[in-house]
């Protein structure tokens, strides 16, 4: 027997080796990314399905306080007060952080699967994966880091930038490192682009979207030349064809129809969509649970669609405001909205009518890209080209038959802007604010006079174009725009230039897991 057991043990040890391969069988039909086609399918999930837009919108100056009579959700209040958000809802920092790193993980796994394959198809997929990684990290950097500021980029914290699948990165690094990483990925990807393989190009980094992304990144990175170069590549020779024809929305019946058209992939202005599970579409429309902090009539009249601008006399009347958007506003005094990024509801349980609230965000549009180029031209003081772009935007967005429609020139911009009062900070009331708020560019300078005035106009155009897309908050951070958040029954809050609260605090779990939290100035906390 002893001999037997020794024999069987020996046989067992031998068997072990073969057993290991017997046990390598996967326990289910999970896919393995082992072909170009699968890599391509895998990249469908390399786009984050949570969006920072809700936090960005509530943090910025597009919203104000309707008063304590209206309900606000905890995360909404936190964002409005620039406080750390500890809830874990779909729009909260934890979900955004998670979704962006999930996208990066997918991109990294796809890159791993593509490694070594230099075929043209593989290169195109590699480009998409790199752009997905860069985009997700750019989204996270926008949310959790300070705006780019060359003089402070070594001091500001960055975010971990994983480049290897399945490996945690436990250091945040500096903002400079983060931007260098994003830049490297974009630069590596752009030469490899090829739209040929995309079946649903508008939900992927097609060429135009890729260049629009590169343009936006370089604008934020303050590389004006590159911003112009890439925006031009995105827009092509006839930019107006890639702008939203706002006039065509005038004939539509109502909210749903406008919204449905807005997010159609057939609309040429939409360069790329990213869908997010988000309550933002509901909050923006002034759902009763979110009605306290909204884009209300006061903001509309003083700072957004109805604000006094070169094309508007602070009124909705068609004769006094050439802007098409000004005539597409719906809602109530407390929450007035344009039905662009409203909610699409995915019903999972029909009886209870529950499911997921989605917001489909055209993250890159021709409209935003042309304004990116215009802003870069202004920074280069190439006002003619800037004005050309701004006028293209006006043609698309205004009723050209309106008496207020105009073609912008340096002179009429200066005249119009000089006539607009500078907003005091803190302001006494939203009603006393205007489109002009103190600018303190972060890490660069802008001249008084024409350059500043031109910037005010282009920033206003951006604010209108990207109403629910979070870009206003990023412009506030980049330009060091100081503004006031009023609070019913409490002291007003002021957001200062270079305010550290511009970098949203990391999710609690992530801090607990050992990442360095964003610093806060104790003085501004209160």
């Amino acid at each position: 027997m002893k001999k037997l057991s020794i024999l069987s043990l020996a046989a067992g040890m031998l068997a072990l080796a073969s057993c290991d391969s017997y046990l390598d069988k996967l326990p289910d039909d999970r896919a393995e990314v082992n072909s170009l086609d699968k890599a391509k399918k895998f990249l469908v999930s390399a786009y984050p399905n949570h969006s920072p837009n809700f936090v960005f919108f509530m943090s910025g100056d597009n919203v104000t306080d309707n008063g304590v009579l209206y309900t606000a959700q905890p995360n909404q209040t936190n964002a409005y007060k620039w406080e750390p958000i500890e809830t874990e809802n779909n729009d909260d920092p934890k979900q955004v952080w998670n979704a962006n790193y999930e996208a990066v993980a997918v991109a990294n796994m796809a890159l791993e699967a593509l490694a070594g394959d230099e075929s043209a198809d593989a290169q195109a997929l590699r480009a998409e994966a790199l752009l997905c990684r860069a985009f997700a990290m750019f989204q996270n950097a926008n949310m959790f880091c300070m705006a780019w500021n060359d003089s402070k980029a070594d001091e500001y914290l960055g975010i971990p930038y994983p480049k290897v699948a399945g490996v945690s990165v436990n250091e945040r690094g500096t903002l400079r490192q983060t931007y260098e990483n994003i830049n490297a990925d974009i630069e590596a990807a752009l030469p490899l682009l090829n739209d040929g393989y995309l079946t649903v190009p508008k939900y992927h980094f097609n060429q135009k979207a890729a260049y629009a992304f590169a343009a936006r990144f370089n604008l934020f990175y303050q590389n004006w030349d590159k911003a112009i170069e890439y925006a031009t590549k995105a827009l092509g020779g006839n930019p107006i064809a890639l702008l939203r024809d706002m006039g065509s929305y005038a004939t539509l019946a109502g909210v749903d129809d406008i919204h449905n058209k807005w997010i159609r992939s057939g609309e040429n202005c939409n360069l790329m969509f990213v869908d997010a599970v988000s309550i933002n579409g509901r909050a923006n429309r002034g759902s009763s649970s979110y009605k306290r902090f909204c884009h209300n009539m006061d903001v509309l009249k003083t700072q957004t669609m109805w604000a006094k601008t070169p094309w508007s006399e602070s009124a909705s009347a068609a004769t006094k405001n050439a802007l098409q958007e000004a005539r597409r506003m719906y809602g109530s005094n407390q929450a007035v909205y344009i039905p662009s990024l409203i909610e699409d509801f995915e019903i999972r349980d029909k009886i209870n009518q529950t499911g997921y609230a989605h917001v489909v965000d055209p993250v890159f549009t021709g409209d935003e890209t042309i304004l990116t180029r215009a802003e870069a031209y202004i920074m280069k003081k190439d006002y003619d080209k800037a004005l050309a772009d701004m006028n293209t935007w006006l043609t698309a967005h205004c009723d050209v038959t309106s008496p207020k429609f105009l073609t912008l020139t340096v002179d009429n911009v200066n005249t119009a802007l000089d006539a607009i009062r500078m907003t005091e900070v803190p302001s006494r009331a939203v009603g006393e604010e205007s489109i002009k708020k103190p600018l303190n560019p972060q890490g660069f300078t802008v001249e008084e006079g024409t350059q500043t005035n031109m910037i005010y106009v282009v920033l206003q155009m951006r604010r209108i174009t990207t109403m629910y897309q979070g870009q206003r908050w990023l412009d506030i951070k980049r330009w060091g725009i100081e503004f006031t958040h009023h609070l019913d029954g409490e002291d007003n809050l002021v957001f200062k230039a270079g305010d550290l609260r511009g970098a949203i605090q990391l999710p609690n779990d992530v801090i607990e897991a050992g990442l360095e939290p964003n610093p806060r100035e104790t003085a501004t906390q209160n």
């Binding site: 027997m1 393995e32 992939s265 009886i351 779990d509 897991a513």
Partner: protein, 1101 residues
């Protein structure tokens, strides 16, 4: 026993001459009880010291001086002194309740040499006649085994726990081993899903295909020592089932017929308003504006009032008037009729029809070959409407002795089951409002207790905007289950030399289940897909479809004709192969050695497919007819009309066990198993788990001084201790990233594409969940073993359990499952069996079983939402028992009669509650949802040919959530509990009652989230009861026909038995008001265990 000890003593003092002539005698010792050989019985020449011990086959060879007798003794058996004869067979009779052989499924071990904690349950004794699923009969039969009948529907598994839960996310289900072969589940249903009432639970019982009459015994292996041979699969205990075998020299034909009548539930046991009381409430609802023509006529669901309004609005051209005239009198007459109706829904939906079970077995054999064959048919016409079951089983067990060295055993089992069940969809919990619901639920039991008694059972009312009648719906919306289970196994044993046995076993199992949900065109479910009688309904009916590509159009039906044919198929096929070697020896008469080792390979494949046949026209010869819109909508909503998924399990293991005993007094045992599974990480450390056990036993009664000291007062004493490591595969399989295909949601079908996504990130370190267990046990036999006491104490440390881990998220996810949680448990088990009276004509036996288990989660990062903690089975939280129930802190009613609870901010609120919150610290701990104390008390009396058996089970220590009964708004369909009489009605009542008001229209409009307040109240401290109960499980009277009658009829045996099962609760919390504390009323296919009477006829030829 005495004699044997005497002999030992004698042997010590007597020196014996060897002067006589010697004859060599060979013989076999078998047990009378089961005709099995007795291993290790001592055979001594009378008056001499010399002797021998029987081998694994019960064989002995001894040299006997002529004229001397030999004495054969064995623990627990009556010693016999016989005249030696070559080739003799000595049959020993049991002297006590002690069992001599422990069957571990792999090995048979002499009980004296077994160091683990185990209980053997005789199927004949435990069997609950009329309960076709034998696993239910284990309730209260073994200490440490709890059986909770969360649903009584045939095919659903009871929640069985051996010594409590062992895993937080895993199923904690014991391993079933039938005739040495591990039974794999067709589908993995975890502990929480068992109580969900979902259709999948109908095939959750691994042994529903076994005929109860074929089972010989259960051996429940509890501690690590007993289970360690199964090592990495045995963390939650093992239940070994041994089926009947043929016996040599006997030919028997047995017939068993069971006839079972189940009682209908009665309103007297429930707390439901009669129609008069109910109409009173409706009138009040009407007065408050909650029932009105405007609200109710077009409501999605309505009852008496809705019908009345519809009649008032329907013009009958034949009579030239409205169906009901618009007068106060006509209205009152109509309502008075409803008031007097008092419909008995239990009578309507339940039946006393007799369930029958017929089973015939044949057993025969010679020395060369033994056979056992059986057939059975179980026919259940259904306790509730649409719940028919018919099951056929066949089994054959053939044993062939090829020659002295080789035996071959072949077993085949087949069963087929055809079952009907009410149609059901899966249950869902709405995390937003805290509502647990099931679309189109037509479970007869839950319908009966939730439907107003004012409804006419033959009338169609409205549900989901379409006509609804429960009888019609059950006839038109049902499930057909076809279950086939097959098992073939063969075992070849070879004994090259006496002491060695080599064996190979191969088994193949195949199981397939087709679950077809037929939803006919006349069913309410199909009709609601096309209910659009008027514009209001058309706009509101959620089952209609608005095409996003067609702005400004009315919703339309995606099912203009026909119904659905939804088919789910489960398939499982598995292979087992095992090779073992055993060595038994006794050296110098005192040193008993047993070595056993081998290897095992398993391969299991499962598949599950789903298909939804849309637009099936049953009345048109099953013609299919679909509208493309259904698929367009499905595409937009990401719903699939078909699916297929496969899973593969592969396991390899090596095991060995060694036992050494000195004179049977001292035993030490060690076991090790090395197991690998394909479900775990690629690295050796994660994939392969070595498990082990060390244990020892001291049979004190074998000591020479023992009998002298205790005489007959204490006749048996064994002390055992074991320490072990066992494990189980975790519930997750993400050792490699799980990448699945998906269809991302897109607003327009034209933007659809399919992709791959990460379902679970890779955790290359994923490994087994593990358990260390220390067990100390003592077995005592008093008064010649008339009184036997068995006590075990254990402490368990479960670690490497699956739990949530928080990371910085840069790998792709912040929260992931990993082996990070741990749990401790400890418990005590006591079994006392006593033969109170033993006389020729009268016998009285008492069995008392008590077990206590306490679990505590010691490490767990809780990521549960609030809603998970307060519903049904609760959830795990660090510092508390496995599955604890928590409640909202109820703070009385407010001045308007609306319930108030404390919310996450510490405020006393009505509806300002966030059910998805992960902040759960403010909830009130209620207690565990699994009982901590379980057991039974059984008394059996035998007088001549009469047997009386009274068996009660009990469970204590857990809490249960009362069925939700309170809502913000009620319709004229709802049945209400009688508590409603004491509800808040006028200001000031809040000081007297905790029963909330029925909110009026103004309150409902003022607070759109008012339903949150009621959902919170239903899950508050006010709505929880103790789960404690004592149940009269069984009372039975049996009569064995006397031999004289039988001889006349040429029968070998015949008996008749009357048995009442689940008769009543002797004790339960008053707050339960008729709610069964074991049963989870979740709708779907769940019904409680019936109160039933069974007549059993047994005839032996």
């Amino acid at each position: 026993m005495e004699k044997r000890l005497m002999m030992f003593l004698a042997g010590l003092f007597l020196s014996l001459g060897m002067a006589f002539a010697q004859t060599k005698v060979t013989g076999t010792v078998i047990s009378q009880e089961d005709d099995q050989p007795i291993i290790g019985a001592s055979v001594l020449v009378q008056g001499q010291r010399s002797g021998t011990v029987t081998d694994v086959d019960g064989k002995f060879t001894i040299s006997v001086p002529s004229g001397k007798k030999i004495t054969i003794s064995y623990i627990g058996m009556e010693t016999q002194t016989v005249t030696p004869k070559n080739g003799m067979t000595v049959t020993l009779r049991s002297s006590a309740e002690l069992q001599e052989v422990v069957v571990t499924g792999m090995q048979k071990t002499d009980r004296r040499l077994f160091t683990g904690s185990t209980t053997k349950v005789d199927a004949e004794k435990a069997k609950l006649d009329g309960v076709a699923d034998i696993s239910r009969s284990l309730e209260g039969r073994a200490a440490g085994v709890s059986v909770q009948n969360v649903s009584g529907t045939f095919g659903t598994a009871p929640k069985i726990r051996v010594r409590g839960a062992t895993s937080i996310y895993g199923s904690s289900r014991p391993l079933w081993v039938v005739d040495g072969v591990i039974m794999e589940d067709v589908t993995e249903v975890d502990a929480d899903q068992l109580s969900s009432g979902d259709a999948e639970t109908l095939i959750s019982s691994a042994i529903a295909g076994l005929n109860a009459d074929d089972i010989e015994s259960f051996q429940i292996l509890k501690d690590g020592s007993a289970t360690s041979i199964y090592g990495a699969r045995a963390m939650s205990g093992v239940i070994v089932v041994t089926t009947k075998k043929g016996k040599s020299g006997q030919t028997r034909i047995n017939y068993t017929g069971e006839f079972t009548m189940r009682l209908k539930p009665s309103y007297s046991n429930f707390n439901i308003m009669n129609s008069q009381e109910q109409m009173g409430i409706y009138k009040e609802l009407e007065a408050n504006g909650l029932i009105s023509f405007g609200r109710t006529y077009r409501a999605s669901s309505s009852g008496v009032y809705g019908k009345m309004y519809q009649l008032m609005n329907t013009y009958n051209p034949a009579t030239g008037s409205f169906m009901l005239s618009q007068t106060e009198e006509a209205k009152n007459a109509y309502l008075r009729e409803a008031e007097m109706r008092n419909t008995n829904w239990f009578d309507e939906l339940f039946s006393n029809a007799i369930q029958q079970n017929h089973s015939i077995s044949m057993s025969t054999g010679t020395d060369k070959a033994q056979y056992y064959t059986s057939f059975s048919i179980m026919d259940d016409p259904g306790w509730t409407e649409q719940s028919k079951v018919r099951r056929y089983t066949a089994s054959i067990n053939a044993m062939y002795n090829v020659n002295k060295k080789v035996t071959l055993n072949m077993i085949a089992n087949a069963s087929y089951r055809n079952q009907r069940a009410p149609g059901t969809t899966s249950q869902s919990v709405d995390a937003v409002t805290g509502n647990v619901s099931r679309d189109f639920d037509i479970n007869p039991y839950s319908y009966a207790i939730n439907s107003s008694r004012a409804l006419d059972p033959n009338e169609f009312y409205t549900r989901n905007y379409a006509p609804f009648n429960i009888h019609n719906e059950l006839a038109n919306n049902f499930m057909n289950l076809d279950v086939v289970d097959l098992k073939y196994q063969a075992e070849l044993k070879y004994k090259p030399i006496k002491k060695v046995e080599l064996a190979v076993l191969g088994a193949y199992k195949y199981s397939t289940t087709t679950q077809a949900n037929e939803i006919h065109e006349n069913s309410n479910m199909a009709q609601s897909f096309r209910a659009m009688d008027d514009a209001t309904i058309r706009d509101n009916n959620p089952w209609l479809y608005s095409d996003p590509d067609k702005p400004n159009t009315k919703p339309e039906s995606v099912l203009p004709v026909g119904g659905f044919y939804r088919e789910t198929k489960y398939k499982m096929s598995s292979w087992d192969f095992r090779a073992t070697a055993q060595y038994n020896d006794v050296f110098n008469e005192d040193h008993i050695v047993n070595l056993y080792g081998g290897m095992e390979i398993n391969d299991t494949q499962r598949s599950r497919s789903y298909f939804n046949g849309v637009g099936m026209q049953y009345d048109m010869g099953y013609l299919g007819s679909y509208d493309y819109l259904f698929f367009k909508q499905s595409a937009e909503q990401n719903a699939m009309y078909y699916s297929l998924s496969n899973s593969y399990g592969r396991e390899v293991s090596f095991f060995a066990t060694a036992t050494y005993s000195w004179k049977g007094r001292y035993v030490i045992n060690g076991t090790t198993r090395y197991e690998g599974s394909n479900r775990l990480g690629k690295s050796r450390s994660a994939r392969w788990l070595p498990t082990w056990n060390v244990s020892g036993a001291w049979n004190a009664h074998e000591e020479p001084w023992f009998q002298k000291t205790f005489k007959t007062a204490l006749t048996h004493a064994t002390l055992k201790a074991s320490y072990s490591l066992t494990g189980d595969k975790p519930a997750v399989t993400n050792s490699q990233a799980i990448i699945q295909s998906f269809n991302p949601w897109r607003p327009f079908a034209s933007d659809k594409e399919s992709g791959l996504q990460i379902y679970d990130f890779a955790n290359p370190d994923l490994t087994y969940e593990k358990k260390h267990e220390l067990n100390i046990g003592v077995d005592l036999g008093f008064l010649n073993n008339r009184l036997n006491v068995q006590f075990d104490w254990y402490r368990r440390n479960n670690y490497d359990l699956i739990g949530m881990r928080t990371t910085n998220g840069t790998k792709g996810t912040i929260n992931e499952y990993a082996n990070v949680a741990s749990m401790r448990s400890h418990g005590e088990e006591l079994s006392i069996s006593s033969k109170n009276i033993v006389s020729k004509d009268f016998k009285w036996n008492t069995d008392f079983i008590f077990s206590h288990v306490k679990t505590k989660i010691t490490e767990l990062d809780n990521r549960s939402r609030l809603i998970d903690m307060v519903t049904g089975t609760g959830f795990a939280k660090k510092g508390y028992a496995y599955r604890s129930l928590f409640s909202f802190d109820f703070k009385g009613l407010n001045a308007n009669g609306i319930p108030q609870v404390v919310n996450e901010k510490g405020e006393v609120v009505t509806s300002d509650i966030y059910f998805q919150s992960r902040d759960i610290d403010y909830l009130v701990y209620e207690g565990p949802t699994d009982p901590t104390i379980t057991g039974s008390l059984g008394n059996s009396f035998t007088y001549k040919n009469w047997h009386l058996n009274i068996f009660a089970t009990y469970a204590f220590g857990n809490v249960v959530r009362l069925d939700p009964a309170f809502y913000a708004s009620y319709s004229d369909l709802d049945a209400m509990p009688k508590e409603f009489k004491n509800r808040w009605t006028v200001s000031g009542d809040e000081n007297k009652t905790t029963i909330p008001a029925i909110p009026d229209l103004r309150q409902l409009q003022a607070d759109t989230k008012l339903s949150y307040a009621f959902n919170a109240y239903n899950r508050s401290t006010d709505r929880v009861a103790k789960g404690d109960f004592i149940r009269m499980k069984e009372i039975s009277v049996a009569y064995d026909f006397p031999q004289t009658w039988l001889n006349a009829l040429k029968l070998k045996s015949a008996s008749i038995k009357l048995q009442g099962t689940n008769l009543f609760l002797i004790y339960s919390d008053k707050k339960l008001n008729g709610q069964d504390p074991e049963f989870f009323n979740t709708g779907g296919v769940a019904v409680p265990m019936a109160r039933q009477f069974t007549c059993t006829v047994r005839v032996g030829l």
